[in-house]
Structures are given as structure tokens and as C-alpha cells.
Amino acid sequence: MLSEVEIKEIQEEIKQYPYPAVACIDALKIVQHHRGWVSDDSVKDIAELLNISNEEVDSVATFYSRIYRKPVGRNVILICDSVSCMIMGYESLYQYISRKLGISFGGTTPDGRFTLLPVSCLGDCDNAPAMMINYDHYNRLTSEKIEELLERYK
């Protein structure tokens, strides 16, 4: 069941558009913001609220990279693997984080603290290599800097 807050936030978005189904992506983002990911039950609840089929909501949810249909850790690390960051050495940073946390791309630490994912260009190419942790941007990364950053996310 969607919470009152979620329903209220989704209804605010619906007002911006001619009919409720248009707010599908906004609704998915709102639910994910509150729960970390989008479960089958949430898909059903959103479909009901927007008056469209579950399949339609799921087709949208699975299309977009930043909607998670599986549970993720409390913090999501997104490492940019696009070309400018490759030139500037994202691969060694990935290996450093991967070794440190004991997980590869797609993995979540057993304590649920971190999920590690690749991400396409973050638009920070002049400060490469770049990554995000949750919604915070970090750039000009080195392994020392990452060591310190990871400590901030519990």
C-alpha cells in the first residue's frame, strides 16, 4: 500500500499533466525515493492510482536505468564508466572499490550498506573520473578520496 505522503506527492505531479497516466515516471521515482526500490506490490499500487495496467507501469519501470526493480543497499554508488572517465582511469577506481567492498557491479554488500552500479556519463567530464553516492556528486577521484568518502555513508 502506498503511504499517504506518497499518494499526496504523486497527486501533485498528476496536476501538472492532462491525465494521470502521464505521471507514471514521477510516481515510480516518488515511491523509490521513499522505499529505495520499486516492488511488484508498488507497481500494482501505482497502476491502480494512475488507472493503467500493471504491465504498463512495469514496462516503464524496466525501461529506465534509474528505477530499481530489485532491492538495493542503503547507499547506491554509481561509477561513471563512459569514455572521458575511462581515459582518466575509472577502471582502477572501480577495482579499488570492488576489492574494498567485496562486490562487483550489480552487487550489494551483505550488511546492505552499499550497492555498486555503473552509470553512463554524469556530465562531469572535465573533472573526471566522477561518481555519485546516492544523489551526491564526487569528482577528480583518487583512491584516498574514495576511502574517505565511503566512511561518510553508513
Partner: protein
């Protein structure tokens, strides 16, 4: 040198709020537009200024606007959409404008919406641009309170609502018809053209989609006129351009410069030349979907027609530099992997061809590639070309592939014959 778009952006400090923006002449172009100009006057002015779209395709902005139906009951509602989904690898120019001067974009959008008589506008914003989102929301709020947005703007009778839609991530959302599907809450699959969005766009209504940088030019054109705008560039195209450089250079960054400066000036004077110990081998001049240019092209003028004449595209004007310490095969593989991953899957050459290309390139890079792959790669690049696919995604992917195969042919061959990457 005039830098109208970035003159009020101070890296490291906050963007101007409404009061500060007004103190430097902000919203006076809007007042002029609404009080002294008819919508068609603005469209004609933008046409005459020779402003070409800054999102990558370089389509004349005034011509795009002039396709929107202006008369009769059937012409409403209409929409204006700002494409702020900047996601092309190597591109980071719109972020600078969004974070640095949101009111400049908002003012440009209100004037543009007035020109096409749209009463609802959306900013389709890249999901990752959280700082830009917060700045835009604050600026929009200020603009509503000051009466620049909402009903009867400045007593003109013109109404406009502006809403920010933050995306959920996919490169294809930057393709304007895919963007419209995404804004309608659907999968971002491109639509058939024609009909063009100016006739049937968002919710089947006349819609103009313009890039952030394009819309940020509008208030300056209204304020200073077409001749001033044309005079900003070194070529016949109007205006300045936000250029960027990334890769192994001393001073990577983004700068507003006249259209028509050379690649060499951009690389050497602004980006400070190559990093110590690194040599220039080539560059994608306008983002990941543009053809490589090499040393012999360094004196090419950075403008739409001149870069096209050299065999590439100006694209977004943000160069990615390939240096001699980076493997060109790995570079091309990285770019093609991106395009394969970001394909929406709608049409066959793109859905099937790109992963095939990606696998062959990975194999060559790992030392297990075969000579026949080179022909197969060229074959694919050819069939990704314009006319064979539904949208410009696969043609974009073909550009670095075909030019990479051409300019770095010997490197590809060496990977195959030596059965390893010489850079690893």
C-alpha cells in the same frame, strides 16, 4: 570578447537570484517582447539572427518555430519543451548554464513560448542534475511570485506555466520525439517523423523542443538584435558557443567562445594543451556521436558547416581528446558499449547490430579478434547510417566507429595480429 551567456556565471558561487539577475538587466528582454513585439516579430528576429540549435543537430531555431500553427481554434494548447537531458558522453555544457544562470533560461523560455503562443512549458531535466534541479525550482518560484510566470504576464494577457520534469535516466530521452514519449510517462521510444513535433508533438499538440543553450540565447537576441548576434561569431552562423574539452589535457573545462574558432585554439589556448607526457592522436569534436578528427584537422573552424566539411559534426561542441597513452580500440569499444546499452531496442540495426559491434570490439581489445571482424564492423557502421534506422541513435554510434576504423586502422590490425592490446 563578448560572452553573453556566461557573463554572469561565477564558478564556485551561487547563481544570481531574481533581484541580482534584474540588476544586470534580466527580464528586460521579456518586458520588451511582451509590450512591444508581436509573436511573429520574435520568430522573424530569431530566424534573421541565424541561431542554429545547440543540442547537436544545428537546425535553425527560427525555422523550427515558424512551423508551429499560429491561427485558428485548432492551434491550442501548444507546448514548449526545454531539452535539458544532456547525456552524451563527453558533454557537460548545459549543466554549466543550468547551474550558473537558471533565470536566463527561464526568461528565454517565456519569450520563446510567447513567440509560438504556448501556454505550458516543461523543462525535461537529466536525473543526475540535482543541483540544477534545486536552482531551477527556486528560480521558477521567484519568477511566479514576480509575475513573470502564471496568468496575464506583465499585463500582456499572455499566460504561461512552467514545470520541471526530472528524468529517470536513458540517453535516448535526448532524442526529441523519444523525449516527448518520456514526458507523456511512457517508454522513451522515438516516434516516426513526419509529423514533426511542431505539428503533432506532446499529447499530439504542436510542440517545440529546444536545447538549454539555444533557449539561453533568446533574451540576448531580443535585447541586442540580429546583427549583434551574428557579429559574435567568426562565421556566418550567429552567436557564441559553449565549447568543452575533456581527456588528457592540462586544463579541461568549458568556455563560451565565438563560433568559428579553430580546434587548435580550443585545445591549446583554452584547454592548455596536452597533459605532460601525452601526445594528441585525435578527438571527437562534439561528443561521443561524432566522427574522429585527427592532427591534420586541428585548424578546422569549430562551426556546424566547417566541421561537417571536415567529415565530422560540431554536435554539442564538447571535444573528447584521444591521447597516445589511451588505446583507440578501447576508446571506440567504450563508446560503442554505451550506444549498445542505451539503444531503446525498437529497430533491428540498432538493437541487434550495436551489441554485435560491442562484442567484436571487446574481442579485438582482449586479443581474440579476427581479421574478418574489421569488415563486419564496417558493414555494421554502414547499416547504422541514416535511412536504415528509426532515429539518429545508431547513425550517431556509426560515426566514431567508422572514423576510428579509418584513422586507427593499424592499431586495430596490431591488436589482431599480436593477439593482445599494446596498451595493456
Amino acid at each position: 570578447m563578448e560572452r553573453p551567456l556566461t557573463q554572469h556565471i561565477k564558478p564556485g558561487s551561487d547563481a544570481y537570484n531574481l533581484k541580482e539577475y534584474k540588476q544586470v538587466g534580466g527580464y528586460s528582454a521579456l518586458t520588451k517582447s511582451l509590450k512591444r513585439m508581436a509573436p511573429s516579430d520574435i520568430t522573424n528576429l530569431v530566424k534573421a539572427s541565424n541561431l542554429l540549435g545547440r543540442g547537436g543537430a544545428g537546425f535553425p531555431t527560427g525555422v523550427k518555430w515558424s512551423l508551429v500553427p499560429m491561427y485558428g481554434d485548432t492551434s491550442k494548447p501548444k507546448y514548449l519543451v526545454c531539452n535539458a537531458d544532456e547525456m552524451e558522453p563527453g558533454t557537460f555544457k548545459d549543466r554549466y548554464l543550468l547551474e550558473g544562470n537558471p533565470h536566463q533560461l527561464i526568461e528565454g523560455m517565456i519569450i520563446s513560448a510567447y513567440a509560438i503562443q504556448a501556454e505550458k512549458a516543461y523543462i525535461f531535466l537529466r536525473w543526475a542534475y540535482k543541483k540544477a534541479e534545486a536552482g531551477l525550482r527556486k528560480a521558477i518560484d521567484e519568477a511566479y511570485k514576480a509575475g513573470y510566470l502564471g496568468k496575464n504576464i506583465l499585463g500582456s494577457g499572455f499566460n504561461l506555466d512552467l514545470h520541471v520534469h526530472s528524468s529517470a535516466g536513458r540517453y535516448i530521452c535526448g532524442e526529441e520525439t523519444a523525449l516527448l514519449n518520456s514526458l507523456e510517462g511512457k517508454r522513451a521510444v522515438p516516434r516516426t517523423k513526419p509529423p514533426f513535433p511542431a505539428i503533432s508533438g506532446l499529447f499530439g499538440r504542436p510542440t517545440v523542443v529546444n536545447n538549454v543553450e539555444t533557449l539561453s540565447c533568446i533574451s540576448h537576441i531580443v535585447e541586442n538584435g540580429e546583427d549583434w548576434f551574428k557579429g559574435l561569431s567568426l562565421t556566418s552562423t550567429g552567436g557564441t558557443k559553449l565549447f568543452g574539452v575533456s581527456g588528457k589535457v592540462k586544463n579541461p573545462g568549458t568556455w563560451e567562445l565565438p563560433l568559428g574558432i579553430t580546434m587548435r585554439e580550443l585545445l591549446e589556448e583554452h584547454a592548455g594543451g596536452m597533459s605532460p607526457g601525452h601526445k594528441f592522436r585525435g578527438a571527437l569534436p562534439g561528443g561521443a556521436s561524432t566522427d574522429f578528427l585527427i592532427e591534420e584537422h586541428l585548424d578546422v573552424k569549430m562551426d556546424f558547416s566547417t566541421v561537417a566539411a571536415a567529415g565530422s559534426r560540431l554536435g554539442t561542441g564538447t571535444m573528447i581528446i584521444l591521447d597516445d597513452k589511451t588505446c583507440p580500440v578501447a576508446f571506440v569499444h567504450n563508446v560503442e558499449k554505451f550506444f549498445a546499452l542505451e539503444s531503446c531496442g525498437w529497430c533491428t540495426p540498432c538493437r541487434e547490430g550495436l551489441p554485435w559491434v560491442e562484442k567484436m570490439l571487446a574481442s579485438i581489445e582482449e586479443g581474440t579478434g579476427k581479421m574478418e571482424y574489421l569488415e563486419l564492423l564496417s558493414f555494421n557502421a554502414k547499416y547504422f547510417g541514416p535511412g536504415n534506422t528509426f532515429c539518429a541513435h545508431a547513425p550517431g554510434a556509426a560515426e566514431p566507429l567508422q572514423s576510428g576504423l579509418k584513422y586507427f586502422h593499424d592499431d586495430f590490425v596490431k591488436h589482431i595480429t599480436d593477439k593482445k592490446c599494446p596498451w595493456r
